[in-house]
């Protein structure tokens, strides 16, 4: 086996703390950035001065036998993945790489996970611990590098999807998985409605399903695991086997399928996987075994919010459209109050990514 990889890295946390202290003193909020791949997606646009954490990068600790890696937030995902590859391991949540620009910190802040998410968990699920700089400029550690840790509130997973509004993420420890022995994809022609039913039924079978999406009249299922289990399941389920060189899953993960290639507003629904969504199902891309659905085009926000709510979930204007307005489903008054209190607990002066998640946060 090769030597442990020692990629270039730098602990820039002191400089980040210093910059943040200055910003706090001057009551000047910051927008946290590294690779820049998520500047105009996932949240509202934020016009604060940037706090660049891209220098704060590198793998801090990687113990293949422990299935745990710790890396600085500015580490590009591609660097992590290359190191894991050497030991036949992987990030379970199959994050979008966005042309190599995506970093670990941004991926956690946006809680972005790929097609494997329903089957292997999200980045939120894989997080074991974080180091965080809160709005009081304190460098804090929560969670750890072990699989189970219930001491104190789960501040680590709380960072997932918080869009950097609770702290500047400094380091992250993640649980890993071994790479599957074999992967194979099957394709079936069917309507969106039949596909939703089929995805859910298949997910309820004890088979090594690792992806299920529907687009333009085709349902594609992916099997990953022990070769024997993948082969026997494929034989039972039938369908057209995709060429091994086909890169549909990578394109789905990185949002580089032709479906995503235009400037129309792009909406992300996160809903009950078995629900029928009243809005334009046939022009949707259905991923995550039914639990994540993409929709392109101009729609009245309220109509989509109602559709999402009746499907047991919520909607986000993921990309494009009016990014100065709210881009997420509204919260109840009680929950809004709790979220504001929580924000204050971490960032009393409101200097971290203000307005990125909601205008009032």
């Amino acid at each position: 086996m090769s030597e442990e990889p020692k990629p270039a890295g730098l602990d820039d946390s002191k400089a980040i703390v210093t910059s943040l202290m200055q910003a706090r003193e001057e009551a000047r909020p910051v927008y946290i950035t590294a690779g820049g791949s998520k500047r105009h997606i996932a949240g509202r646009d934020c016009d604060s001065d940037t706090l660049d954490v891209s220098l704060h990068r590198g793998i801090v600790d990687y113990q293949p036998q422990e299935l745990v890696i710790t890396a600085r937030a500015g580490t590009p995902l591609t660097e992590l993945i290359a190191a894991l590859q050497e030991h036949n391991q992987m990030l379970p949540f199959e994050p979008p790489l966005f042309g190599g620009k995506a970093t670990l910190g941004g991926t956690l802040a946006c809680n972005l996970s790929g097609p494997a998410r329903p089957f292997r968990g999200s980045i939120r699920d894989a997080v074991l611990g974080v180091q965080l700089i809160n709005g009081k400029c304190e460098l804090l550690n929560f969670g750890g590098k072990v699989m189970k840790n219930v001491a104190g509130y789960d501040v680590s997973r709380l960072q997932a999807g918080a869009l950097g509004t609770l702290g500047v993420i400094s380091e992250i420890s993640l649980k890993l998985l071994p790479q599957p022995e074999k992967t194979l994809s099957l394709r079936y022609e069917m309507t969106a409605g039949d596909a939703i039913e089929c995805m859910n039924r298949r997910a309820g079978e004890p088979k090594p399903l690792s992806g299920a999406f529907w687009l333009n009249g085709d349902l594609t299922l992916r099997l990953s695991g022990a070769a024997s289990a993948v082969e026997s399941t494929a034989a039972q389920w039938g369908g057209d086997i995709l060429d091994a060189a086909d890169n549909t899953w990578e394109n789905l993960r990185d949002m580089t399928l032709p479906y995503f290639a235009n400037d129309e507003p792009l909406w992300r629904f996160s809903v009950n996987p078995a629900a029928t969504l009243s809005t334009a199902t046939d022009s949707s891309l259905i991923d995550w075994g039914g639990a994540q659905r993409w929709l392109r085009g101009e729609y009245p926000l309220q109509e989509l919010q109602q559709a999402a709510a009746s499907a047991g979930g919520h909607v986000t204007l993921f990309r494009g459209g009016d990014r100065a307005a709210e881009v997420r489903s509204p919260l109840s008054g009680t929950e809004q109050h709790l979220q504001q209190q929580l924000k204050r607990a971490f960032d009393p002066d409101g200097i971290l990514n203000p307005g990125r998640l909601y205008s009032w946060l």
Partner: protein, 479 residues
């Protein structure tokens, strides 16, 4: 609290609850004086046993108006004193909210009330080929509400995750009795991830009144490979070999000699009495996958020097092999008047070192210890044997336990993997967290419960700033 206030509280609660469901007399309160960590007990002002969510809400409102502390309790199987009553507060027992509200086989979810037992969920959905993943050893009795409060694990969490990975949504009541739903029927929710924050929050942030759990397909087949080893070190190395061999077992458990012998006396599971340690490795999946992995694991164990090897031949045999493990706590309990169960988590690579240190401490304190261990995820359960009627033994056991947990932190682990902090490990929190970190946790608490009325004196130590708030009884102060 003066007697008149207790009477007022009782009168107010009995406006909403049947008189029988508000327990005032001390003898009837006894069953509620502690959870399964019996060295910490107390009696509350009164016990409230609501039967509906609306009644829970009324109890919260009354307590909020009268500024009365409130401690939630499920089945009382917790192991950290988290459900120990507050002497000036209400003990809110949620056991009567025990209804499975809805099962959705296609979306693979179930909506359940907090008093439903962990195992009852799996039993109710088995007909659909589904089950609920996390399986604490107390799963016959423990309630799902308690599992949420403690973020419970079990023997299968290496592969299937903890409670936090297996629940989708919670109906909660705030300390003021306001209702809200967090999470969603999808896989995430807008705004901050309050599901992550509430899971494992030990009843400090709100009261859970309904849980939507995610269900998993029952595996086609599961099989156990049991191997005996002549040293703890060899067994520890074998654990690392399985994990780095690319197999994620459904469960991977280790027991040391004293635990093996106690479990074997109790369950006659066929454990090798002469082994210094055994590993129980369960693999599950499709028939083909399990055949492949069983032979891989068996070969690995042999190559790592296993002194004996047993592969479960059928379901009855598999259950028997697990019976020994699942009854290890009561089995060890027969060896001494009392036992004290610890719960540190350590990096897997530190297993041999830590077990050897524990052995030395055992000699130092002259207290026997049996080790039962979720080896796959590094979660240790040393069981310290002692006599609770001997104050010196109690003192020694507590000190011994604290030293084990501090050692866990020193080697890169934590003071609790799945049992929670409760009242028991409160004084150990500073060994894992800095003052700034503890204050951050305290600020989170204030965001949800500014008057500190939910489960006071547990989970998160309240540092010097507690003087700004209503004083806690002396025994609940932590400095």
């Amino acid at each position: 609290m003066p007697e008149s206030s207790r009477n007022e509280l009782t009168r107010r609660l009995r406006q909403y609850l049947d008189a029988d469901n508000v327990i005032v007399d001390q003898e009837s309160q006894r069953p509620y004086e502690c959870d399964a960590l019996t060295i910490y007990c107390d009696l509350p002002l009164l016990v409230a046993l609501p039967e509906t969510t609306a009644q829970v809400q009324q109890v919260l409102r009354v307590c909020h108006q009268l500024n009365v502390p409130l401690v939630a309790r499920g089945a009382g199987t917790g192991l950290c004193g988290g459900a120990m009553p507050h002497p000036q507060g209400v003990l809110l027992a949620l056991t009567k909210l025990d209804r499975i509200v809805n099962i959705d086989p296609l979306a693979r979810t179930a909506r359940v009330q907090p008093g439903v037992s962990n195992l009852a969920i799996s039993e109710a959905v088995a007909a659909h080929g589904l089950y609920y993943g996390p399986d604490p050893s107390s799963q016959v009795a423990c309630s799902i509400g308690g599992n949420v409060a403690e973020n419970s694990g079990g023997v299968h969490c290496l592969k299937y995750g903890l409670t936090v990975h297996n629940i989708l949504s919670l109906d909660i009541l705030t300390v003021a009795g306001e209702a809200l739903t967090i999470g969603s029927q999808g896989l995430d929710s807008p705004g901050y991830d309050l599901m992550a924050l509430f899971t494992g929050s030990e009843g400090l942030l709100g009261i859970v009144t309904e849980i939507t759990v995610r269900l998993l397909p029952l595996p086609e087949v599961a099989q156990v490979v049991m191997a005996g080893f002549e040293s703890v070190d060899a067994a520890g190395d074998a654990v690392g070999a399985v994990i780095s061999g690319g197999i994620i077992p459904a469960g991977l458990e280790m027991m040391d000699r004293l635990a093996i012998q106690a479990a074997e006396d109790f369950a006659q599971a066929g454990y090798p009495r002469d082994a210094a340690a055994i590993l129980l490795c369960e693999v599950d999946g499709t028939r083909e996958e399990v055949d492949q992995h069983v032979s891989q694991v068996a070969n690995l164990f042999n190559s790592m020097g296993a002194s004996s090897l047993t592969i479960s031949q059928d379901e009855a045999h598999r259950s028997l092999l697990w019976k020994g493990r699942k009854s290890a706590f009561p089995a060890v309990g027969r060896l001494a008047p009392d036992y004290y169960c610890m719960d540190g988590t350590i990096p897997r690579g530190q297993v041999s070192f830590v077990l050897n240190e524990i052995h030395q401490m055992s000699e130092h304190y002259d207290l026997r210890v049996a080790n039962v261990f979720h080896a796959g995820d590094g979660n240790l359960h040393p069981l310290i044997l002692f006599d609770a009627s001997d104050p010196n033994d109690v003192r020694k056991a507590e000190e011994f336990g604290s030293r084990i947990l501090k050692l866990a932190v020193q080697v890169g682990g934590c003071i609790t993997g799945e049992h929670g902090v409760g009242v028991e490990k409160l004084r150990l929190m500073p060994s894992q967290f800095s003052a700034e970190e503890l204050l951050q946790l305290e600020d989170i608490k204030h965001a949800f419960d500014p008057a500190l009325n939910l489960n006071p004196g547990k989970g998160v130590p309240i540092l010097k700033r507690c003087q700004e708030y209503r004083a806690l009884p002396a025994r609940h102060q932590h400095e």
